[in-house]
């Protein structure tokens, strides 16, 4: 029972950062019609911002996270301008170009920090018990940050004028631009937020995962599973799928092993693709 509960707590932590990464990947797909294969590498860059600023240069942790947010957001802007905008009419081209970008980011990380795991000292050792399960403050902080950020996104999308414009673009780009919504402006902001979120997820979890330049691979696989299971184009679906997948993955990892958990996750995704290609929550309406 204790083990079950502890595993559930661990899964909650996993769900929170996975949701942060996957949600905006869905949004970017909705707005720009392109799947960003380099999304995992944006997470990796965020993690290395913390490695550099916090672990090597001894800046405060939160400052390093903020720097990661802005820096990775800017990387996202660069991607939008140089890759996705010129290739807007060519979704497959955009995807392939993002694979190229992924290789560049990976190699730069290897040049800057070496192939080996970057060590990030924990910013706090404190932990507490929730009904017998141990939860470190570091993990709690990730969960809290994810909830706050997702709630803020929610409000932004549903309440603000720009959020409405963004959803309009995701639903029908042509109709949206006829209403005077600038596609370029919308894509730019969507990409900035998306990249920044992936960066924050990387920065926050850096002390917990020991980043390597190749960590993006497992991240993007996870993100793909989540957005396919949740339904491409459904933000709510992505959050629910993140929770679902995190629980399945964490439990299988605990009771079998990590590789089996990955196989189960991928098989789950294949099954969803076959049975219901629009995803479990695949909306008739997008975003």
């Amino acid at each position: 029972m204790d083990l079950l509960w502890q595993t559930a707590v661990n899964a909650t932590y996993a769900a929170s950062y996975m949701a942060l990464i996957a949600v905006w990947l869905v949004m970017i797909f909705g707005v720009m019609g392109v799947i960003n294969f380099a999304h995992g590498e944006l997470y990796m860059v965020g993690a290395y911002c913390v490695v550099f600023l916090y672990a090597q240069e001894n800046f405060p942790f939160l400052l390093a996270v903020a720097a990661g947010l802005i820096f990775v957001g800017l990387v996202g802007l660069v991607m939008e301008r140089t890759l996705f905008r010129p290739l807007r009419d060519n979704p497959l081209g955009g995807l392939i170009a993002s694979i190229g970008f992924l290789l560049i980011l990976q190699t730069l990380a290897v040049f800057g920090f070496g192939r080996r795991m970057g060590h990030v000292p924990p910013w706090t050792q404190d932990k507490f018990e929730v009904f017998g399960a141990i939860l470190t403050y570091q993990r709690l902080f990730v969960i809290a940050a994810a909830i706050v950020l997702l709630a803020a996104l929610w409000a932004f999308l549903k309440r603000s004028k720009f959020g409405r414009a963004l959803r309009a673009c995701a639903q029908d780009a042509e109709a949206a631009s006829l209403q005077g919504i600038s596609m370029n402006q919308t894509a730019r902001i969507a990409m900035f937020i998306g990249a920044a979120l992936a960066g924050v997820a990387g920065a926050l979890t850096a002390p917990l995962v020991s980043p390597t330049p190749y960590i993006g691979h497992s991240i993007i696989v996870t993100a793909f599973i989540i957005i396919i299971v949740g339904g491409v184009g459904s933000l709510e679906g992505a959050v629910i799928a993140a929770v679902l997948y995190a629980f399945v993955h964490t439990f299988v990892t605990t009771f079998f092993d990590g590789v089996v958990a990955n196989i189960v996750g991928l098989a789950l995704m294949l099954a969803v693709l076959v049975v219901r290609p629009t995803g479990l929550f695949g909306a008739k309406e997008r975003a």
Binding site: I35, T82, L83, P86, L87, N90, P91, L92, G93, L95, I96, A97, I99, G100, F101, L102, L103, I104, Q106, T107, L108, V110, F111, H217, V221, F224, I225, I228, D257, V259, V260, N262, I263, L266, A267, M269, L270, L273, V274, P277
Partner: protein
């Protein structure tokens, strides 16, 4: 116009002469290379088959991310057959291709329910599952370390003729023969009715269906044929290098295949071959000489982006463009000269 018949004949002879010339160059080539360059030449020949078989799949308009894993299926199968069951290597090579094709046939049931982006992701997932199975099950796949000491190609020793396939030069010629034969088959398939149907499915799948073509079956057929030859390439690789492991058939290898195909251009048969040859030469000569080995992924990434942005039809589209430039440049001064005269 009179003489169209002879024109055709001349062109045909010119083409055949070019082919003969190409083979002459390929025959002399290894003797001009150092030992390590010969080893690279062997791998290059194998990669030519890999990327050409990939192109057959792209004819139907589907881009798979699992092709390198399918190559791995052929490699593992051939290696295990030879190692565990004592099947002689040339036979195991063919069986390995057959097992790769069978794997593709099974995978086609879930995968070809999808198209485009979903197929891409689905093929990626299927490939990863296969790779993780190799990694997870030490028996018989050897786990993360993979298989080692895979049987080499048996030496040929018939009195006057003895060939030791441990020598890269000899293996180069063996691979060249196998790959040339495979390329010939691939080429004939593309030019056949089946190949034309693949094209039809790519450009007009609804229309193809409405005239009675079972697109699912043809997509599967393309996938199975492509996978057979990828499996052969895998077997050639396994019995040459003598070791395979799950990482060797990972996504980054797949990215290289994509880069070769895209940089070369998939519109023509020779496009992807051009891509793999040019990039390998750049890689081995330029990068190694400059000591930029670690920068390889970065440079590949940049080349990939640049070619998607500025050369969407690949290197093979470069030649006609250059020819056009040259023609205009030549006629340009002539025209102005005429005006002055």
């Amino acid at each position: 116009m009179p003489g169209t018949g002879t024109g055709k004949l001349v062109r045909r002879i010119a083409w055949q002469l070019r082919l003969v010339f190409l083979f002459a160059v390929l025959a002399v080539l290894p003797y001009l290379l150092s030992y390590s360059q010969q080893e690279i030449a062997v791998l290059l020949v194998i990669n030519v088959l890999l990327v050409s078989s990939y192109r057959l799949l792209t004819l139907t308009g589907e881009w798979s991310l699992g092709h390198v894993v399918i190559m791995g299926v052929g490699a593992y199968a051939s290696a295990l057959l030879a190692k565990r069951l004592g099947v002689s290597v040339p036979v195991s090579l063919l069986l390995g291709g057959g097992i790769a094709a069978a794997t593709a046939a099974v995978l086609s049931f879930p995968l070809f329910r999808m198209k485009g982006f979903y197929f891409l992701i689905g093929s990626f997932a299927a490939g990863e599952i296969i790779r993780l199975i190799w990694k997870r099950f030490t028996e018989p796949f050897g786990g993360p370390k993979g298989l080692k000491r895979i049987d080499a190609f048996p030496d040929i020793d018939i009195g006057f003729l003895s060939i030791d396939f441990f020598e890269p030069v000899n293996y180069y010629f063996l691979a060249l023969v196998v790959v040339s034969a495979s390329l010939f088959v691939l080429y004939r398939i593309e030019r056949s009715r089946i190949g034309l149907t693949f094209h039809a499915i790519h450009w007009q799948d609804r229309l193809a269906e409405s005239v009675g073509i079972d697109t699912f079956r043809y997509r599967t057929l393309a996938f199975v044929i492509a996978s057979f030859f990828a499996g052969i390439a895998g077997g050639l690789y396994a019995h040459y290098v003598g070791a395979v492991n799950p990482t060797r058939f990972g996504v980054d290898q797949m990215v290289y295949v994509l880069v070769w195909a895209i940089v070369g251009g998939t519109a023509t048969f020779h496009g992807p071959i051009l891509g793999v040859v040019v990039l390998t030469v750049i890689n081995e000569i330029v990068l190694r000489a400059l000591g930029l080995d670690t920068a390889r992924p970065l440079i590949y990434g940049a080349i990939l982006i640049l070619s998607v942005l500025y050369l969407p039809n690949g290197l093979e589209s470069l030649a006609p463009r250059v020819r056009e430039r040259v023609r205009r440049w030549r006629s340009g001064p002539a025209a102005t000269g005429e005006g002055a005269g």
